[in-house]
């Protein structure tokens, strides 16, 4: 039925099967649209957010998808700036993942503000001292870059490519893509860092505040490195899931292994710096504020185990697997390692936002709990369904994986 649109030389499942899959995903997306509509029309009183938890599931989801989508900028950086040719075989896919992550982040940000129609005030009345201003500018610009990076792939669709104007436009876009990759990398380094900075500058919140290095809090640098480490892990994980669902090998193992190795060593670097940062925070920053490190982990779910889970189970273990050749070449170790790495990044973003707010600072204030409601859960999880939807469509109709034909003769 849609065979004229499918790239030549590759096999795809029958259209009814595909339509059923898309229909299934669309139902969840429709649910998310309803949830978003409820929040937009009725206001944020439809969520479980409150004056103590001004930030909740949405900010966690925002920070998490931006970290996970970091594979796009970092793979582009390695391919175009460092000239590592192997990564061109996975770059298209990383761009799609990045596009989904950043568009989701923008929509979630639009949900999370009380007056969405005034969101443009952040550009019009920009406060240059605010980390959030930098985040807004960089994310918006980088999303534009990702769109420009995604367009040539869309234009490579078999039918679109037949149009001479489209073909030439796409070809010329490809030729200048290094410029956009460099721009994207520059913007990403800044906004990934600024997201860490948004919490790191809160000197009224001992859990989140970090000492400054030059003009930036240390969380600025840690967020950049963790996104560089977990972004490629998420790209590998989604590639493996796509291969599992399509029952095809789509990217050669040497490419995956190289990406895993880079990710692994970045995780090692991140863990080392994070340890130093945590020790300094515990030994110097917190005592100066009159609190001890154990005051920061008072009760469930914010016990010391959350730190051990983040740095140990979701940090050290995947790092060891990824830096060892046997580990990264064994799917039974590689996939769990990427899952742990991604979960570690999500956990880090969660504690840096929600735990920062959860801990009362006034000695006579009380600890309150927060559990997101269905509106927040559905819209926070929707990016993953949206990712499945866009990957399904792109994989079927666009030449996403350059090595697919060779690997599946």
């Amino acid at each position: 039925m849609d065979s004229a649109l499918i790239p030549q030389g590759v096999k795809r499942c029958p259209f009814p099967q595909f339509a059923l899959w898309i229909g299934f995903l669309s139902i969840f997306m429709l649910w998310a649209v309803v949830a978003a509509g409820v929040a937009w029309i009725k206001g944020l009183n439809t969520t479980n957010l409150n004056d103590y938890f001004g930030f909740g599931a949405w900010i966690t989801a925002d920070l998490a998808v931006i970290a996970l989508g970091g594979g796009a900028f970092f793979t582009g950086f390695m391919r175009y700036i460092l000239g590592i040719e192997d990564f061109k075989h996975i770059l298209n896919f990383a761009v799609i993942i990045g596009f989904v992550c950043y568009s989701s982040a923008l929509v979630i940000l639009g949900l999370d503000v009380g007056q969405p129609l005034r969101s443009w005030f952040i550009f019009w009345h920009a406060n240059v001292h605010s980390m959030l201003t930098e985040v807004a500018f960089c994310i918006s610009c980088y999303f534009t870059v990702l769109t420009i990076e995604y367009i040539p792939l869309v234009l490579e669709n078999r039918q679109l490519d037949k149009i001479p104007l489209v073909h030439n436009f796409s070809h010329n876009l490809h030729r200048i893509m290094a410029v956009f990759a460099a721009t994207g990398a520059f913007l990403s380094f800044f906004h990934q860092g600024s997201l860490g900075g948004t919490v790191g500058v809160l000197f009224g919140r001992p859990f989140g505040f970090r000492e400054h290095f030059a003009i930036w809090p240390t969380a600025f640098f840690l967020f950049i490195i963790s996104a560089m480490a977990c972004g490629p892990c998420f790209t590998i994980l989604v590639t493996r899931i796509t291969e599992l669902i399509t029952r095809k090998k789509l990217v050669k193992q040497n490419v995956i292994a190289k990406l895993a190795k880079v990710s692994g060593w970045l995780m090692v670097a991140y863990l080392a710096l994070k340890m130093i940062d945590t020790v300094y925070w515990a030994m110097v920053t917190l005592p100066n504020m009159g609190v001890s490190v154990m005051d920061m982990y008072p009760e469930s779910p914010f016990t010391i185990w959350i730190l051990i889970a983040e740095l140990g189970f979701c940090g050290a273990i995947p790092a060891i697997i990824l830096i060892t050749e046997k580990g990264r070449n064994n799917n039974f170790l590689l996939v769990p390692a990427t899952i742990l790495s991604c979960f570690g990044a999500i956990l880090n973003r969660y504690v840096m936002t929600v735990q920062t707010l959860a801990l009362p600072v006034l000695p006579f204030d009380k600890f309150v709990n927060y559990i997101p409601n269905w509106v927040e859960w559905v819209t926070s999880l929707a990016p993953f369904v949206y990712l499945a939807l866009l990957i399904s469509l792109s994989y079927r109709y666009l030449p996403v994986f350059p090595q697919e034909k060779e690997l599946n003769p």
């Binding site: 503000v113 009380g114 007056q115 005034r118 809160l202 009159g290």
Partner: protein
């Protein structure tokens, strides 16, 4: 009266530095300050105000105890308006983070204001404030029948989706200044500008004035050996001082490590 402008830590010429001194030994926790504040500033309320996590109170009275059981228990009430922090370099925690410049530090008065029509409700300022002095409008205000006619015409009501907070009754400052100018004066007398909570307190526990002006009561009171500010160690540099002769109350105003001596 102060003749010349003083230079603040931020390098700007500061004409006034309005602030409060709250005597906790006098406060009975009656809540009159909260009621006066709500009335004066058109603070919205709902039929069911039992969930305090979504209820707005620019002035909120916290209750603290010495942690002992009867008969040794001692109770203290902490009225908490916005602290109008000056920060270390003139950057209050909330002012520097607001991405849309919707919250502003007024260098003439030292008052931290909120521009409701510019706020787009990101709530970053709420995350930055350790005092929980900022409130989000989760709902549009709905006033009981005929109450709209009793609203203060000097304070604009806030719509759903924006953050609001105590303004030290800034409209009263504007009114007092207009009055002084009309009389050919350039300075405002102490009694001409007083906040609603100050005037409502039956125990006279809240004193308001210019912290820089030696003729104002707050100038002397803030120098009392019993004076302290909330969470001073964080570097927020608040303009609200508290007084108490009870050492456990002064200790309750900040965080201390076990075994560490308080001021």
């Amino acid at each position: 009266m102060k003749e010349e402008h003083k230079e603040g830590a931020h390098g700007h010429k500061e004409k006034y530095k309005y602030g409060m001194v709250i005597d906790l030994d006098k406060c009975t926790g009656c809540g009159a300050c909260m009621v006066a504040c709500m009335t004066e500033n058109n603070v919205p309320f709902r039929k069911d105000e039992s969930n305090k996590l979504v209820s707005t109170a620019w002035m909120r009275v916290f209750k603290a105890t010495n942690g002992k059981s009867y008969p040794d228990i001692d109770v203290c009430y902490f009225p908490r308006p916005c602290m109008h922090c000056e920060g270390e370099h003139g950057h209050a925690p909330c002012v520097s983070v607001c991405p849309a410049t919707a919250t502003d530090y007024n260098y003439e008065t030292g008052i931290v204001s909120q521009i409701y029509t510019r706020c787009f409700g990101c709530r970053y300022c709420m995350a930055a404030c350790p005092y929980h002095a900022r409130y989000f409008n989760w709902w549009d205000p709905v006033w009981p029948d005929k109450m709209e006619k009793a609203l203060s015409p000097d304070v604009s009501p806030r719509m759903r989706g924006v953050v609001e907070k105590c303004s030290f009754c800034f409209h009263r400052f504007q009114r007092a200044r207009d009055h002084a100018y009309a009389e050919g004066r350039r300075e405002i007398r102490e009694d001409e500008y007083q906040t609603a909570c100050t005037q409502a307190c039956p125990a006279d526990a809240i004193i308001f004035g210019d912290l820089n002006n030696p003729e104002h009561k707050v100038y002397k009171l803030k120098k009392s050996p019993y004076a302290f500010r909330l969470l001073e160690r964080l570097g927020t540099n608040p303009k609200v001082y508290y007084l108490s002769t009870r050492s456990w109350v002064r200790r309750a105003g900040d965080n201390y490590l076990a075994g560490e001596r308080s001021k």
